[in-house]
Symmetry: C2
Subunit: 451 residues, 2 copies
């Protein structure tokens, strides 16, 4: 059904209070779409709609909502309703929600869960932000290696309904050490009497609770896993991360990279729901810092005022030199940031990278200089010496820009920063200073007018 | 085992020709890691290693290799070996490989497959690049709605081994129209005698063969699907896309966005395996275009040579104005590009976006101008009027940069371009021109020295 038609139909049924009919329509819609639809209703209407949904679907829709709507809904719930809904939530989803709520709501949520769930939630909340532990779920299927395939299916049927995935099952020793895994595909294709120990996979790729969540997501994408086990320092299985959460991590990460590369403080709040003041607050620190740094460039110009007033034509080439330097550096930085994030480049490759970038930079610099020389002579009517100054500055600038662009992200990563911060805006600012120093340095050395 | 230790051990066993021992170690390694390991061996050694692997694993490793290694291997294969390996490949993987091979290799591959597979491969090759059809696989499990759950399991056990996923099964009418789906989780939790028609999900989210592959990946990530059905114009099921391929599409897309935003021609070839000349070729067109555009900025400066020679201090503020304009525009562009790519912003929001950006730009502009004014007076020792010229230019520049930054990506998308192209480098170049025009315009209007 078309989205607009659906919204009209739902609103109409709601206004006429034809709730039975409305319910029938709502239960056919995917949770994500229901959450979007719910945004059309106001604070008072929302709980009515919500109560029409079957418990399980209601919980799935709740998970897909924006934090402010979740908060409104929770405050409209009776204690009993809240309890019922929390029971339906997967623990990792409950943790995600708790992390977005104000303290009083968190308190109410925690006091509405049973003590076992509360224990799990607190356990996960303890892991550092961005760690594997913080995004894992404890709801997975555990098998014993002495079980037969038939036993395994019995257990899956018994406990599977509450598990986030049943398709990969994990085999542990009594002390919870991870020793094997078996997929439902293997179970289905195996003989009913086979022993798990004989059919399970024993070389297991796993992650540690303290590993970075991006590392977890990359491992899963590399090996095409639907889930990956998370173990603690003693190799005991404590949880799993499922592929849907890995996708979210990868998407968040690339969004953050783009934001950092454009001198923005990262946020995952949708643009249209972010206030003007919040947007200003995310943008102004970087703009201010870069503006103040850019005034150094101005200082260089002012220290060469004499040269400039003797030969105003020199000023004509300043924007071109600065922009080309910034773009060259930005290209190298973006290439290296991508390589680092895909794991293709690391600190150990830095010399190879530098050598490659020097050659690329020389090729680029010479090509640009050749075209720039022609343009300076024929279009800007500069004399040959001035054109030579511009072109040699261009080559030196491009080479140093590419060198900075390729080394700064690697060094940033080496000392524990996100390489994406060392991208175009910062490199541009540094290269601006360099290019002007080269420019006026070469000019005063070569041009007779400036002697 | 540590990677270095593993490589040494494998090399040692290989050199000593202890192939039985070597094989035991190799079969315990994940295909992706084996493909990386294989890069350590040369053209002659590789086929020997490869022949040690069991057929199925060999095929999985082959899929993970870089195209040039695949080509080397294929040329070392006998026709029989090639045939055996192609039989093990999933059809979508075979298509991916074929797309990277030169014509003579493609011919050899196609003549080594049986006619049914060749038919499927040709079918998929016909779909436009970047369409859902081009990334789908035809190896899925189809059920009839009259089947019982027990029948369904029988079919899964019989045909499942060759299917890319067995966890989502699709129900079609005899004319292949898609009518339902059922997951293995539902099958396992249902009664053995239940009829598929009664337990299957009938509201199905699907994509069309001609839909863009990014749309497919976003739908799957939105709804947390492990697979999504692909139908043709008559609603007949022709294939499925699995979540591992969706992740690849999302990653490729964000890499491409970052590349375009840094004025690079997109490529998915690993940096260290790309030749200097190829890298140059990906970078020089944009650098050249932007350098030539930047000379317009120079032309503006030269047309105000008079003003500049009267008041050289004006040149001091040029880099700061240009950089701040570029950064402000780049921030807005990146924000909007992310919003467009996540589907949060569309053409219909353009007025809302513009109104929001105007307010943010005014806030940013005024904050920057206040700091800039203080700095111009106290540090650069400019007079009050000059400082006022700089600050008002700053505000006008930031506002126009943010306006361009938010509208250009939306307009680019509207006319069918990738919005990521309209990012920092291009916006910087346009804003440079604008900021200088504003600057000299305001200066000549206000400053008595220039009258």
């Amino acid at each position: 059904m078309d989205e607009k038609v659906l919204i009209e139909l739902v609103s109409e049924l709601f206004d006429k209070k034809e709730y039975a009919e409305l319910r029938k329509i709502l239960i056919g819609i995917e949770p994500h779409d229901l959450a979007k639809l719910a945004e059309r209703f106001d604070k008072k209407e929302l709980p009515i709609i919500f109560r029409l949904l079957p418990k399980e679907l209601a919980a799935e829709v709740f998970v897909e909502m924006e934090p402010d709507m979740q908060e409104d809904l929770i405050s409209s719930f009776s204690d009993k309703e809240l309890e019922a809904m929390l029971e339906e939530l997967y623990i990792d989803d409950a943790v995600d929600i708790i992390e977005e709520m104000p303290a009083n709501v968190v308190k109410r949520i925690l006091s509405s869960t049973d003590s076992e769930t509360r224990g799990f939630i607190n356990e996960i909340l303890k892991y550092p932000k961005d760690s594997a532990g913080s995004i894992m779920t404890v709801e997975y299927i555990r098998l014993d290696k002495a079980m037969t395939v038939a036993d395994a299916f019995k257990r899956i049927r018994r406990v599977g309904v509450d598990k986030e995935t049943i398709y990969t099952c994990y085999v542990t020793e009594p002390d919870k050490t991870l020793t094997g895994l078996v997929t439902v595909k293997h179970l289905l294709l195996a003989d009913e009497d086979s022993i798990i120990d004989d059919i399970m996979q024993k070389n297991i790729i796993y992650v540690n609770t303290t590993d970075d969540k991006e590392h977890v997501a990359r491992e899963m994408s590399k090996y095409d896993f639907l889930a990956i086990p998370v173990v603690d320092g003693e190799n005991r299985l404590v949880g799993i991360v499922t592929v849907d959460d890995a996708i979210d991590v990868l998407q968040e990460e690339s969004t953050e990279d783009i934001q950092k590369m454009a001198a923005l403080t990262p946020t995952d709040k949708p643009y249209l729901r972010t206030s003007v003041f919040e947007i200003w607050f995310k943008r102004i620190p970087w703009l201010m810092m870069l503006m103040i740094s850019a005034t150094f460039t101005g200082t260089i110009i002012s220290s060469f005022e004499d040269a400039l007033s003797k030969m105003v034509i020199l000023a004509v080439f300043i924007p071109m030199l600065m922009d080309t330097g910034g773009n060259s550096g930005g290209q190298a930085a973006a290439t290296i940031i991508i390589g680092l994030s895909l794991g293709e480049i690391s600190m150990s490759n830095i010399l190879k990278v530098i050598w490659k970038e020097i050659r690329v930079a020389l090729l680029c610099g010479i090509t640009l200089a050749a075209v720039g020389f022609g343009k300076a002579i024929f279009i800007d009517k500069a004399d040959v010496l001035t054109a030579l100054v511009v072109c040699s500055t261009l080559i030196v600038t491009v080479v140093s820009a590419k060198l900075l662009g390729c080394t700064l992200p690697i060094l940033a990563k080496r000392i524990g920063f996100d390489p994406a911060v060392m991208s175009s805006p910062i490199i541009t600012t540094v290269v601006d200073v360099l290019s002007l120093l080269f420019y006026f340095g070469i000019a005063t050395a070569i041009l007779p007018q400036l002697q």
